[in-house]
């Protein structure tokens, strides 16, 4: 009831709720962009401080898109970008050691390294979209929202990312 009376995000609880819902994906977006976790976290802080400063002007429903807009502005040219280094999860689902031959394991390892390299070599735009989908399991619609582009543009980036990576992996066999 109170939230409806004063429709902004200055309420401590409202603000915290927005943080717990959105902070992680914003952090990851920054990370996929910069390749640096410290910088990503600093940028998360900056984005939420901006939201807090303008909390009176931002209605609850607009908070998310406000954050994304701020995040996109922050990421424009603030940091010198680094290589995005990702880690594979240690336990891989649905695969038991026994079923795999040493040869297969070897091949798999090689492929993983190649994939990492291919991701690093993607353009920033393709990489952020691709990783938000693969790692954060965001739908194309959500990614479009985060990147402030159309769903079609997201699809295009995914397509290009796949084609580009496939080419690189196959050609450097």
């Amino acid at each position: 009831m109170e939230k409806q009376l004063v429709d902004n995000v200055c309420e401590e609880q409202v603000f915290e709720g927005i943080y717990s819902k959105n902070s992680e994906v914003i952090n990851n977006y920054f990370f996929y962009k910069f390749g640096n976790q410290v910088m990503a976290e600093e940028s998360v802080q900056e984005a939420f401080i901006k939201l807090w400063e303008n909390c009176k002007k931002v209605p609850f429903a607009k908070a998310k898109s406000y954050l994304y807009t701020v995040a996109n502005n922050i990421s424009l040219n603030k940091y010198k970008h680094q290589k995005v280094v990702l880690k594979y999860a240690k336990t891989e689902p649905q695969q038991t050691e026994d079923l795999q031959s040493p040869e297969y394991k070897m091949e798999e390892k090689e492929f993983k390294v190649k994939l990492e390299k291919a991701i690093q070599d993607l353009s920033e735009k393709q990489r952020t979209a691709f990783l938000l989908h693969r790692i954060d399991n965001r739908s194309y619609k959500e990614i479009a929202e985060i990147l402030n582009i159309s769903v079609k543009a997201v699809e295009k980036r995914m397509q290009k990312a796949l084609e580009g990576m496939r080419k690189q992996i196959d050609e450097f066999k």
Binding site: S23, V44, I49, I135, S139, Q159, K167
Partner: protein, 295 residues
């Protein structure tokens, strides 16, 4: 259109493998799809970052708040000090002459020799406070409290005529009309008309009656030294509230000597004799100087 981004649809699970299995390098694509789902999420210290935000939130608001208030206060102080200083008017009489100061509300102050007087022009309508070093005679127009501050004491009045002298350790006040409140250190005295008080080092030494209409030190003559004639005439016009036309005279004439300020015919006579000129009376308040035709 759908066809164009078929790999994107396939990656998103909208179409199955059969729809794209003829794409070049499909095996690799399949591997990309599989292994790219095996990456770990970046390690995000969610709670720590939130704590940092909380800290900045409070300090941010606080410093921002303080800064704007501080800046505003500084600005107000700065501007008012500037205005106050700029609109402070100082008058210092020379060691051998008096000076008359007209205040914005037509109150009149006659400074005795070697005295200093200060008032604030802009704030006059809010605060009729003046400062005096030396001796002066005040003829105060009715209005808000009129204050004369000196090093040795303070005089407060509403509208009256009085004299103040503050020099060395002596503080003297004479009231010629109405009443005034005199404060020197802890002593406070209300002076009525024709009363006089003197303090030395903050202690009252004399309180008596006086029977004159204005201080005897106020000079009844104006002294000029090599002054342009126009200046002399201006002084006469002020003293007697008359108009004098000197357009027919030689403007380059200079005057050295003294002219009475309480005897118009004597003053005019002195000028007539000095320059061998004559004057015509237009009416009671207007005179025209002309060359003396009898010579």
């Amino acid at each position: 259109m759908k066809q164009k981004y078929n790999l994107a649809d396939w990656l998103d699970g909208k179409v199955d493998d059969e729809a794209v299995q003829n794409t070049k390098g499909f095996d690799t694509l399949k591997k990309i799809k599989m292994y790219s789902a095996h990456f770990q999420k970046p390690e995000f210290k969610k709670d720590e970052v939130y704590k940092a935000i909380e800290k900045k939130k409070s300090s941010h608001r606080k410093t921002k708040f303080n800064w704007s208030i501080a800046a505003t206060i500084l600005l107000i102080i700065g501007v008012s000090t500037l205005v106050f200083t700029l609109s402070n008017k100082d008058f210092t009489s020379k060691i051998n002459s008096q000076e008359t100061v007209l205040l914005p509300d037509d109150s009149k102050v006659i400074l005795a020799q070697n005295s200093k007087f200060q008032f604030n022009n802009w704030f006059w309508s809010f605060d009729r406070t003046t400062k005096l070093f030396g001796k002066a005679y005040f003829d105060v127009a009715k209005g808000k409290t009129f204050t004369v501050k000196t090093d040795l004491g303070t005089v407060q009045v509403l509208g009256t005529r009085f004299g103040v002298e503050s020099r060395d350790s002596i503080f003297k006040v004479v009231c010629y009309e109405g009443s005034v409140r005199v404060t020197s250190l802890e002593n406070e005295i209300i002076l009525e008309k024709d009363q006089f008080v003197a303090f030395q080092n903050g202690r009252k030494v004399v309180q008596s009656n006086v029977y004159i209409d204005q201080p005897d030190w106020i000079s009844t003559k104006n002294v000029f030294k090599n002054a342009p004639l126009s200046e002399v005439i201006l002084q006469l016009e002020k003293d007697y509230t008359i108009e004098i036309d000197i357009s027919k005279l030689n403007q380059n004439e200079r005057f050295t000597g003294s002219l009475p300020s309480d005897n118009l015919s004597l003053a005019l006579d002195i000028l007539v004799k000095t320059y061998q000129i004559n004057f015509k009376v237009v009416n009671k308040n207007k005179f025209i100087f002309v060359e003396d035709e009898t010579r």
